[in-house]
């Protein structure tokens, strides 16, 4: 266990935000979960007791008849904002006094940094470069993330859970978003920061970053893996065969995956399914399958050392 290596990474000034974001995220997820479960309990109670539902003020916080429903912004909101500004300023001051912003040697195009890492918030995309060609990892994926985020309000047909924390009323939406944000985005950043060392190789926490480390890995394409098991007459060798094979695999993923997801969605979220229009439902399916394809491709690469599943003369997937 190389503690100094671990400390070197964790204490790098630019990595402090990532070290900070983990407990922050854990805290806020806990805070949200606590309120969501309190609300869910209330919802259950009200659903079971229609008489209570008619009179209850429907929040978990206390409220008595005669209390004002609205309060003055001055001072009740402004004091909170003022306090927040002061606290943030103090945090920034202390942080800025105790820790210096990093400054390396002057830029030198002839001396490559190893590892050369993007700013921490883009490390998830850089990590994707291991599994996908740059045009997917660097261009298509960021675009899809932005589009995916933007269509959320238009493909979520669930009218419940607007303006309060809840889990039970929005299981699918929350699970999907947390999978995308916490599991994919944040954990990719953590991997990119703490695990990836020189040559973008995988170093477990505590392992020394050995600049001379060599990993002898032969990455193969999916059709090559298949060729090992096929008789010589059926080998996939020509450009056409490779292209068609890849298209079938990718198309098959969307067809079979789509059917599986459709089956599950209809079984567990029938109401949402019924509420959705043709366009809404297909957009959701498409984005969902694309998102799920990410960890699948990662697993293929990490476990089976598969580089591409679809090889064409113009692009590889």
């Amino acid at each position: 266990m190389d503690w100094s290596q671990l400390w070197e990474i964790a204490s790098a000034p630019d990595n402090v935000p990532i070290v900070a974001i983990i407990p922050l995220l854990a805290f806020y997820l806990w805070l949200a979960w606590r309120q969501a479960s309190a609300n869910d309990r209330l919802i259950e109670q009200l659903a079971a007791d229609p008489a209570l539902a008619k009179t209850h003020h429907r929040k978990t916080w206390p409220f008595k008849p005669g209390w004002q429903k609205e309060i003055h912004v001055w001072p009740f909101l402004l004091r909170v904002e003022f306090l927040a500004a002061i606290i943030v300023t103090i945090i920034l001051m202390v942080w800025s006094i105790t820790l210096n912003a990093p400054l390396e040697e002057p830029a030198n195009p002839n001396l490559t940094m190893n590892p050369a890492k993007a700013p921490w918030y883009f490390l998830g995309l850089q990590e994707m470069l291991v599994y996908f060609d740059p045009w997917i990892a660097g261009v298509v994926m960021p675009t899809l993330i932005i589009i995916g985020l933007m269509v959320i309000p238009y493909i979520d047909p669930n009218p419940l859970g607007a303006g309060y924390y809840t889990l039970k009323q929005r299981r699918f939406a929350i699970a999907t978003f947390c999978f995308g944000f916490v599991v994919l985005w944040v954990s990719m950043i953590v991997i990119g920061t703490f695990i990836r060392g020189p040559g973008w190789m995988w170093f477990w926490p505590g392992q020394t970053w050995d600049h001379n480390k060599l990993i002898y890995e032969v990455n193969i394409d999916l059709h090559e893996l298949l060729n090992r098991f096929l008789p010589s007459a059926l080998q996939i060798t020509s450009t056409w065969a490779k292209g068609i094979f890849g298209a079938l695999v990718v198309g098959g993923y969307f067809a079979v995956g789509g059917l599986v997801v459709h089956h599950l969605f209809k079984r567990f979220h029938l109401k949402d399914y019924q509420r959705m229009s043709f366009l809404q439902y297909n957009t959701l399916m498409m984005l969902l399958l694309l998102m799920i394809s990410l960890p699948i491709k990662m697993a293929l690469r990490l476990v089976l050392q598969i580089k591409y599943v679809w090889v064409t003369p113009w692009f590889n997937v």
Binding site: D14, P17, I21, L24, Y28, A36, N39, I43, L46, R58, K59, Q68, E70, I71, H72, V73, W74, L77, E81, A84, A85, V88, L92, M93, S96, I97, N100, A101, L103, E105, A107, N108, T112, A116, K117, A118, P119, Q126, D133, P134, W135, G138, V139, V140, L149, M150, I152, P153, D156, P159, G161, A162, G163, Y164, Y165, Q169, A173, F177, F181, F315
Partner: protein, 304 residues
């Protein structure tokens, strides 16, 4: 008229000028004393002075009306409504992340403008300016540190704000459009941070931006290494990466472009979107909650 009278007096009593002058001096004592007393009396309640009332347009006695006016008649506070949902001030609901993000943007603008006084976006001077800031400029190191850490903090705050808005379902009707404005602001925040990364002109920034912009080579159709790029006659000298960097490598032009995008271009665009974002928060009915919970049985299904 008064002057004419004076003239007449002069003619009647030959020594009028001196006489009048003496009279004025005599009366000065009593008149001015009265005025001075009045003035001092007036200053005992400064809120009634003309200067005060010209600046603050209403009284400040602790009445509900004045509390409302304190917000509504103030240009900096008028983004707020006069009154809000009693539970909306609870920190546990909003986490305060939107406001903190905006506050950090202000901090960044302030420290950024100060940094611009010491920084030249040229290959010769950029790195030296950073050294100068760190070692010679009074509080220069603190200034740079604060700018850097506030930027990191802003990225974290923006992401947490997005998480909160999602978890409270605040993007739902009628706030769909404002969620989109927010997504654009998220992207702009990341771009602001990214363009700032190159400016110290050190190895860290140089290679981060090299890695980042190399992806643009692979843009489908618009990059010279992307799918269908070569077929569309893309070369390192005319593709989208060339446009970003102002050249085929990260060099002087890239530094200048990053600087202008960082200090002028993106902040202006972000400010415009921020105006829309805050405006829409109000127009869409203020912050989304905490709203009373709705039961499944109460949902009115729209006609399909």
């Amino acid at each position: 008229m008064a002057e004419e009278k004076n003239d007449n007096n002069e003619k009647k009593a030959g020594t009028g000028v001196v006489e009048n002058f003496k009279e004025d001096i005599k009366s000065l004592k009593s008149e001015m004393l009265g005025k001075a007393k009045e003035q001092v009396e007036g200053l005992k309640d400064p809120t009634k002075t003309q200067i005060f009332t010209s600046i603050f347009r209403h009284k400040h006695d602790d009445t509900p009306r004045n509390r409302a006016l304190g917000v509504l008649s103030n240009v900096f506070l008028h983004l707020h409504p006069a009154k809000i949902n009693r539970d909306a001030v609870r920190y546990s609901y909003t986490w305060g992340m939107g406001g903190i993000t905006f506050y950090l943007f202000i901090v960044l603008t302030f420290t950024g403008v100060l940094l611009m006084f010491y920084y030249h976006p040229t290959k010769v001077q950029a790195f030296r300016d950073i050294l100068y800031l760190e070692h010679d400029v009074p509080f220069g190191g603190l200034l740079r540190n604060m700018h850097r850490w506030a930027a990191h903090l802003m990225v974290i705050a923006v992401e947490l704000h997005m998480l909160r808005v999602f978890l409270t379902g605040s993007y739902k009707k009628p706030r769909e459009f404002n969620w989109n404005v927010g997504v654009i602001l998220l992207v702009l925040t990341l771009l602001l941070s990214f363009t700032g990364y190159l400016l110290p002109d050190d190895q860290l920034g140089f290679w981060a931006v090299t890695v980042g912009t190399n992806m643009a080579r692979a843009t489908p159709m618009l990059g010279h290494e992307g799918p269908f790029g070569p077929e569309l006659h893309m070369t390192p000298y005319n593709d989208v990466r060339f446009g970003l960097l102002g050249g085929s490598i990260v060099d002087a032009n890239a530094l200048l472009r990053a600087y202008i995008w960082h200090c002028i271009g993106i902040p202006i665009i972000a400010a415009i979107f921020m105006i829309v974002h805050f405006w829409r928060v109000r127009k869409d009915g203020g912050i989304s909650g905490p709203a009373p919970v709705v039961l499944e049985s109460e949902v009115k299904e729209p006609r399909r």
